[in-house]
């Protein structure tokens, strides 16, 4: 393994990228890694593009992932995969939720939602497409999409063997533990 691994979770304000990063970082900490996680709040909460960055390894300095440095990018929304693509390390891996959220210029009809995103990115980098939003809806809670994607990410990292059940349970709201553990399991399975 490289000295430091970089994971970028990108999406739209309100999609739950922060909770997914929190659970993952908690697991990485438990595994004995040095971990740094960076997020930006504020203006971007209001429907803007958001990113959470996690770097882990033996010793981590910068909390920020540079262009061409992310080993894995998890895109919670398709167009955000496109926006952050240049942050992927050549040879790195994309995990994309097949789900569209049009931005304001698209809602207004001024711009069109880009077409053929999955085909283009799949041709340029190793890409797993996860229907996380559908899977979460099937489980009866559309919001658990973030934890489905976390499952897909953990599978891409090859870290399925850890005790994710207890790591997830201590990081989610009381009463939602089982549902989230199930969503995670589906993400691992259907990544």
């Amino acid at each position: 393994m490289k000295d430091v691994t970089g994971i970028l979770l990108v999406g739209v304000g309100g999609q739950g990228t922060i909770l997914a990063s929190k659970i993952l970082s908690d697991g990485l900490l438990e595994k004995g890694f040095d971990v740094k996680m960076s997020e930006i709040h504020g203006m971007s909460q209001r429907g803007g593009s958001v990113s959470t960055q996690i770097r882990f390894g033996k010793k981590v300095y910068s909390p920020i992932i540079g262009k061409g440095e992310a080993d894995i990018i998890v895109a919670f929304e398709k167009m955000e995969a496109l926006r952050w693509f240049e942050y992927l390390r050549p040879g790195g891996r994309m995990v994309i939720n097949d789900f569209e959220i049009p931005s304001v210029p698209i809602l207004m009809g001024a711009l069109k939602y880009p077409e053929g995103v999955l085909a283009e990115l799949s041709a340029k980098a190793e890409t797993s497409v996860c229907r996380a939003s559908e899977i979460a809806a099937e489980l009866g809670n559309a919001k658990a999409m973030n934890v489905v994607l976390l499952g897909a990410l953990v599978s891409a990292l090859g870290m399925e063997g850890m005790d994710w059940k207890s790591i997830i349970s201590r990081n989610v709201k009381k009463g939602f533990e089982d549902m989230n553990v199930k969503a995670f399991g589906e993400g691992v399975k259907r990544a």
Binding site: D34, G42, S44, I64, G68, P114, A125
Partner: protein
């Protein structure tokens, strides 16, 4: 107690302050500093903390607590220090009783701010020691050190954070709280009454203090040389240290400074003599570089390292070594995704009506509503600082009137911002017989920073019920006539328009209070009894819609315009603004089992 946790810098500051025996904290919310006080409130069994109406008040309250003999802390975003600068400069003269720490959270890159001023300059200007942590573990330890320095040298100490330190998580080891005895209060007029005669003596003492602090800074453990290869040496502080480590690598040597004012010049001189080329890597201003160069030490600084925006390892590799990363490129472009007012935001009603007015200048303020300056509303003309909208509006109205211009002026300001520093602005407009219209966007909370209580919400930071400011009564007390105060529901456009038309026709100060809770707020019992907040959604009847696009011009993110115009049921809150602007009656309530369009 050796448990390790991943904490943000803000959480670590709160933890460090609690461990250091803090008893009093005050702040006004501001990104990226807000969570410091929110986390301190978790320790309310052990300490007292509060939201103040503004940073100057917060600073002064913390001064009082320090004088009373307890360790006290005040936190704010970088621009907040401008507001608190008046007490800061003189408190540096008098010195403290209980330890006093000022936390300035700067925002290089302007993630959520109107400027990116470098507040390290304040330490040098006010002659106070300054500490710059580079991660969460240091944030915790440096708060404790700051209290020690404050008490040892009898001065306020500044802890300067930046957005990446505030909002990045790294590993922190939890510790125990060590209670600090309260220092008994004694009247000491010569020390705390800054009359000219006393202040002249304080000023001399300050010079002596700075000399002792400089000796301390050269020996303090947080200023440390990490030697490796001797070809390249890097002086750095704060999060820039982390970026430098990644960019310059393990072969370079580092002088990592945790205390940068007074600058430990002798340490820098020794370090410089041990390396061939000395770099200074810092975000924003050449603050360390100036002091190092002034001491006659040769270094490479801002001629290579950018002076604007945030740094990162990438930027340093490119600017210092000319290295460009190998990246993948997509041929398709992503459409921009700017932030926008939320679906159901009560501000939308006000700004939709304002966007239709001709010859009206709208002077804005700091808050979510600044987003109304973006298309399609484009309904704000200016935005500078907290509380500035009403005063700038008053000045503009006076100037237009003297210049014989038909231009009218409407100032817009949020409730929390009005309490912060809009009250004195309105006093100015009334006292000086102005003619501007001031709209107070009373959304019953501090919206932008994530719903903090304020003097108008009826609750304190520690969750206690308290008195509420009565905004109409306050405006009346300032001298606004009763018939010139309008209270409207911002979601009823006809009501907003009637009040605006009436107010714009008057030649004296008028206030429109647009009262409705933020759509994202956790509603209080009072909110629920005052307003109809039941969730609902609207639908567009495709057979009646002529696709004129008027509803799209409200900027509501629930409305989607493609081949047909539709409303996203999951996003819509049923606020009804689109239905009021539709001239064809095509928008109505969504009924379960209806056509659903």
């Amino acid at each position: 107690m050796n448990e390790k946790r991943l904490l943000t810098g803000n959480e670590a500051v709160a933890l460090g302050a609690w461990e250091a025996g803090l008893l009093f904290a005050s702040a006004y919310p501001g990104t990226p500093s807000t969570e410091i006080l929110e986390n301190l409130a978790n320790y309310k069994e052990d300490l007292y903390c509060e939201w103040a109406p503004n940073e100057k008040v917060a600073f002064e309250a913390a001064i009082g607590a320090s004088l009373a003999g307890v360790r006290s802390l005040v936190a704010m975003k970088h621009v907040g220090v401008n507001v608190a600068a008046d007490p800061l400069f003189t408190f540096s003269y008098t010195g403290v009783n209980g330890g006093f720490v000022l936390i300035s959270a700067d925002d290089p890159g302007m993630h959520s701010s109107q400027n990116e001023q470098d507040n390290r300059n304040y330490a040098a200007a006010a002659r106070i020691p300054m500490l710059e942590p580079s991660d969460s573990a240091e944030a915790k330890e440096f708060v404790k050190l700051a209290f020690t320095i404050s008490e040892k040298f009898d001065c306020p100490v500044m802890l300067r954070l930046t957005t990446r330190v505030c909002h990045s998580k790294s590993i922190v080891t939890l510790g125990a709280r060590v209670p600090v005895p309260v220092i008994p209060y004694k009247r000491n007029i010569a020390k705390y009454v800054a009359t000219p005669a006393n202040a002249k003596l304080m000023r001399e003492r300050m010079e002596e203090r700075e000399k002792s602090l400089a000796v301390y800074s050269n020996g303090v453990s947080v200023n440390v040389a990490e030697y490796s290869g001797r070809k390249v040496g890097v002086v750095c502080a704060g999060v820039a240290y982390q970026y430098a480590r990644d960019a310059f690598g393990n072969d370079a040597s580092y002088l990592k400074l945790g205390m940068t004012y007074p600058m430990p010049i002798e340490l820098v001189r020794t370090f410089a003599s041990n390396v061939d080329t000395l770099y200074v890597v810092e975000e924003l201003d050449p603050y360390m570089e100036r002091m190092i160069k002034a001491a006659g030490i040769d270094c490479v600084g801002k001629e290579r390292v950018p002076a604007t925006g945030e740094l990162d390892a990438d930027i340093l590799r490119k600017s210092v070594f000319g290295l460009v990363p190998n990246t993948l490129r997509a041929d398709t472009a992503a459409a921009p995704r700017p932030p926008s007012l939320c679906a159901g935001c009560p501000h939308t009603g006000i700004f939709y009506v304002l966007s239709k007015k001709k010859n009206v200048m709208v002077t804005g303020d700091i808050g979510c509503y600044t987003l109304a300056s973006a298309p399609p509303l484009s309904a704000i003309d200016s935005c500078f600082c907290m509380g500035g909208g009403i005063s700038a509006g008053h000045g503009a109205a006076a100037a237009f009137s003297r210049a014989g211009s038909p231009q009218k002026v409407v100032a817009v300001i949020g409730d929390s911002t009005f309490f912060h520093s809009g009250v004195t602005s309105l006093m100015d407009a009334v006292y000086n017989k102005g003619s501007s219209v001031s709209v107070i966007l009373d959304n019953r909370t501090t919206g932008m920073t994530g719903h903090q209580e304020n003097p108008g919400t009826g609750f304190t930071l520690m969750g206690e019920e308290t008195a509420e400011v009565d905004i109409p009564a306050l405006c009346k007390a300032l001298g606004v006539k009763g018939q010139n105060i309008y209270i409207v529901d911002p979601l009823i456009l006809a009501e907003v328009d009637a009040a605006l038309e009436d107010a714009l026709a008057k030649d004296e100060p008028t206030v429109i209070i647009a009262r409705r809770p933020c759509v994202l707020k956790k509603f209080s019992a009072a909110d629920k009894s005052e307003f109809d907040l039941s969730p609902r959604s609207l639908v567009i009847d495709g057979s009646m819609c002529v696709k004129c696009g008027v509803c799209v011009k409200t900027g509501c993110p629930a409305i989607r315009s493609a081949e047909t115009v539709s409303i996203d049921k999951a996003v819509c809150t049923g606020c009804g603004i689109c239905g009021q602007v539709c001239m064809f009656g095509a928008i109505g309530p969504y009924a379960e089992g209806g056509d659903g369009a």
